[in-house]
Symmetry: C2
Subunit: 213 residues, 2 copies
C-alpha cells in the first residue's frame, strides 16, 4: 500500500506504530514498557495509537508478527546455496555481537514468550514463528539434498534439531549472559550445518572459507 | 545430616521448605505463587520459613539449587555406557509425557529464568545449572570417545550442541505447547546422540535397541 514499504504491504499508520514500539522497547525493555512510552515515540496523533490498541501486550503481539515478517524478509537468500541460507539464519539469530538496542528488543521478545503458556493469542504467535522457521529450515535442507550439496539426511529431523538449537542458543545467551561464549555457540552451530554435507570428520572450526560461496 | 537424606546433606528444615515449595509450585505455578502459599504447605512452624526467607524469589533461587542437586543425583548413571548416560539425560529433561505437577514446576523454573538478565543472583544460579550440565555432557562424551563407543568428535562442541538442543527443546515445549511434537523432538535428540557413534547414515528412528544396553 505504501510506496515506502520495504517488504510488506503494512498500513502506514501500523508501520509507524511498530517502529515506535521498536524504539520504546530498545529504550525501556519489556518490564518497564508502557503504552504511554510507545505513544511518546509515535510521531502521529496519540489517539490513533489508543484507537488501535487497548493494552501493551496486545500491541506487542502485533509487534512480534511485524518483527517476524521483517525477519523472514531479511533472511531469505533467494537462489543461494542451501548452506549459505542456513549460515545467514545463524548470522541473524546468533550474531557475533549484539549491541544494546537489538539486545533489549530480543530480550523483550523472550520475556513476552513467557506469557505464551498462559495466553492463547501469545501462544499462537510463538507457534506461528516456530512453524515458519521450521518450514524454512526444512525446505532449505531439502533443497540442499536435491542439489547434491547435503547428504541424504531426514529434512524434518535436521530442521527440528536446528530449530531447537537456535532457540536454545538464544535462550542461553540472554539468560546466562556473561557465562555465554558466542564463539563456542557459533562454532557449534556451523559444525552442525557443515555436518549436513556429510563431513562428519570435519574439524570443529567456524571457518567455512572452503565452501566457495 | 539427616538419615533420611536420599542424596544431599541438606539441613532437614531446609529440605522440608524445599518440598513445600515443590508442592506450592505444582499447585499455583510461578505467577500466583506467594510465600504464604509455600508456608501453607509447610508442616513446621511458619515463622521458621519467614526466618529463612524474605521473598518468594529468594526462596525460589534456593529451590532451583535444590532441584539442580536432585536432578544431578537422579541422572548420573555410574559406570553406564556413555550413550546410555546421554539417553538418561534426554529422558529426564525431555520426558515422553509431562504430567501436570512436574509441568507446572518446570514452567515455574522457566518463568524464573526470565529474571536472570535483571538479577545477578538469579543469573548466577542459571549459569551454574548451564555449566554443570555442560560439564556432565562433555565428560560423558569424552568417556564415550575414550571407550571407543563414540567417534573422535570434539567433546566441547558436541556438549555445546546437546546443551543448546536440550534447552531449546524444553523452551519450545513449554511455550508452543500444543504445536510441539515430543515424538519428533525426542527422535531428533536421539539421532544427535546416535550420530556421536559415527552412524551418520543411521535412519532417524528413536529405536535404540541395537546398543545392547
Amino acid at each position: 500500500m505504501t510506496q515506502h514499504s520495504e517488504s510488506t504491504d503494512l498500513d502506514p499508520v501500523k508501520r509507524e506504530i511498530m517502529e515506535a514500539t521498536y524504539r520504546a522497547l530498545s529504550k525501556h525493555g519489556y518490564g518497564s514498557l508502557t503504552i504511554q512510552a510507545i505513544a511518546d515515540e509515535f510521531e502521529n496523533s496519540k489517539s490513533l495509537l489508543y484507537y488501535h490498541y487497548e493494552s501493551k501486550d496486545e500491541l506487542l503481539l502485533d509487534f512480534l508478527d511485524y518483527a517476524l515478517t521483517q525477519f523472514f524478509t531479511a533472511v531469505r537468500v533467494r537462489d543461494a546455496p542451501a548452506d549459505d541460507q542456513l549460515r545467514t539464519l545463524v548470522d541473524n539469530l546468533v550474531p557475533e555481537t549484539l549491541p544494546e538496542d537489538p539486545y533489549r528488543v530480543q530480550l523483550a521478545m523472550f520475556e513476552l514468550r513467557v506469557n505464551a503458556p498462559h495466553d492463547a493469542d501469545c501462544q499462537a504467535q510463538y507457534l506461528k514463528a516456530d512453524r515458519e522457521l521450521k518450514t524454512l529450515l526444512e525446505s532449505t535442507i531439502q533443497r540442499g539434498i536435491d542439489s547434491g550439496l547435503f547428504a541424504a539426511v531426514d529434512p524434518e529431523i535436521e530442521a527440528e534439531l536446528l530449530l531447537s538449537l537456535l532457540t536454545g542458543t538464544r535462550t542461553r545467551r540472554l539468560t546466562v549472559s556473561e557465562g555465554f561464549s558466542v564463539d563456542t555457540a557459533r562454532t557449534a552451530l556451523l559444525t552442525q550445518i557443515r555436518r549436513l554435507k556429510g563431513d562428519s570428520d570435519a574439524p570443529a572450526s567456524a571457518d567455512d572459507s572452503d565452501t566457495g560461496s
